[in-house]
């Protein structure tokens, strides 16, 4: 029998050392990707959830979590993908949103209320520029360099920037 010498708190700390390969300024805990840590008798179970269903970074993240736990000497652990809860950008911490902005990506706003979607089809939300805070920006494309971002352009400081889509 292996005695689990790592506490739940420690496991969370290890997970904080794993960063998102697409957005290296954020770790998977503040992203809301790492959902649960359960220590059952001796086994550690870590549940992670994908952001976008087609996100190619998910396999990489799963691998990185496995490597991190191994590196930290966690003996008996399992990393499981959990689909029961649907990931939303609302799970991102305020701190994470601040880091995104400093990194040059406009952070996601709060997700829209149910039922507003069809009405909102015609309008586009105004996203402030992460560099100069100007609202004089325009949407270039709903889709950007990764599944989770859209492309904008700031007419005030003449900079293209990305916006983390809110889902």
């Amino acid at each position: 029998m292996i005695l689990q010498t790592h506490t739940e708190e420690q496991i969370w700390d290890y997970l904080k050392e794993v960063t998102d390969p697409e957005i290296p300024v954020l770790n998977i805990v503040e992203m809301g990707i790492a959902r649960k840590v359960e220590i059952d008798s001796d086994q550690v179970l870590v549940k992670i959830t994908p952001t976008y269903s087609g996100c190619p970074a998910m396999n990489a993240i799963e691998k990185l979590v496995n490597e991190k736990l191994e590196e930290r000497g966690v003996q008996d652990f399992k990393v499981k993908l959990d689909f029961a809860e649907t990931w939303t950008t609302d799970w991102m911490t305020e701190e994470a949103k601040g880091k995104l902005k400093d990194y040059g990506i406009a952070p996601p706003e709060k997700t829209e209320e149910e039922g507003d979607f069809l009405k909102s089809l015609s309008g586009t939300k105004v996203i402030p520029c992460p560099f100069c805070e100007s609202f004089d920006t325009k949407l270039v494309s709903q889709f950007g360099s990764t599944a989770c971002k859209s492309q904008y352009f700031c007419d005030n400081c003449d900079q293209p920037f990305e916006h983390f889509k809110c889902i």
């Binding site: 269903s53 689909f83 089809l121 889709f143 360099s145």
Partner: protein, 261 residues
């Protein structure tokens, strides 16, 4: 020999139900992926590749669940690569060649408009794993709908050339819309189980969104009562599916045991 039709079990119906949803997404995802590197502009190249990635992601999750329900040791790759055209139950709408950019956009808009209302109903399904997936995919469908709808408006209300071409695309695609609302014994059994949905309950919503968008785009709305194609949910397809599958499946079939390392 008994003449009675073999009764459909709940398990069989659920499997078919999920495969229909998954096949739609895999085949349309494959079609849209043909634009990768060929988009009319960089942003649209990325957009179509992103939509493809989402659709194939949705299909993968559904196939994984189908494999679990079927319980015969298959995986998602089996459903994608080792079934033949008659086994695929995707809408004919999804398999049509990509055409020009307007055709791809028109098709994506029609599919997304339908999927949006379909998933809004399906997310209430009485099966936690299934409804969890549907909820997740729905968020992405909203982006697809917003994107393709904006392009319909831009192309329809754009130049004479773009107007004419997207109008032709809608005219050509129209006869494939009847199948969106097709229902049979699979749907009936699934509705009884609290999982399936009755497409007649949201048919008017789908039509209204499509009609309103076309009108806003200064396009003519073709006749909803015209001749409509049928058969795809039973494996009857256009000649295009076989060619698509040949391209998509050949590598996997040539190296059936190959693994990514």
């Amino acid at each position: 020999m008994s003449t009675a039709t073999k009764e459909l079990t709940t398990k069989e119906a659920f499997l078919k139900y999920i495969l229909r949803l998954a096949d739609d997404r895999l085949i349309l995802g494959q079609r849209n992926a043909e634009w990768c590197g060929h988009g009319p502009q960089l942003e649209e190249d990325l957009a179509l590749a992103n939509i493809s990635l989402d659709l194939i992601g949705h299909a993968t999750a559904l196939y994984e669940y189908a494999a679990e329900i079927e319980d015969e040791g298959h995986d998602e790759d089996y459903f994608a690569y080792f079934r033949d055209d008659r086994d695929f139950t995707n809408l004919q709408l999804c398999e049509l060649p990509k055409g020009d950019f307007g055709f791809t956009i028109a098709r994506q808009f029609l599919f997304s408009a339908f999927s949006y209302f379909q998933y809004e109903k399906l997310k209430e399904a009485d099966d936690e794993q299934f409804s969890g997936m549907i909820n997740k995919h729905l968020k992405e469908i909203k982006y697809h709908l917003r994107h393709s709808r904006e392009w319909v408006l831009r192309l329809g209300d754009g130049t004479e050339e773009s107007h004419e071409r997207i109008q032709e695309s809608f005219d050509e695609l129209w006869m494939y819309l009847g199948e969106l609302f097709y229902m049979d014994e699979v749907d009936e059994l699934m509705i009884k189980e609290g999982i399936g949905i009755d497409s007649s309950t949201f048919k008017d919503d789908v039509k209204k969104l499509i009609d309103d968008t076309l009108i806003e785009a200064t396009l003519n709305v073709p006749d909803w009562d015209q001749f409509m194609m049928s058969g795809s949910r039973k494996g009857i397809h256009t000649e295009h599916l076989g060619h698509l599958l040949a391209q998509m499946q050949f590598l996997r079939r040539s190296h059936p045991k190959a693994e990514w390392k």
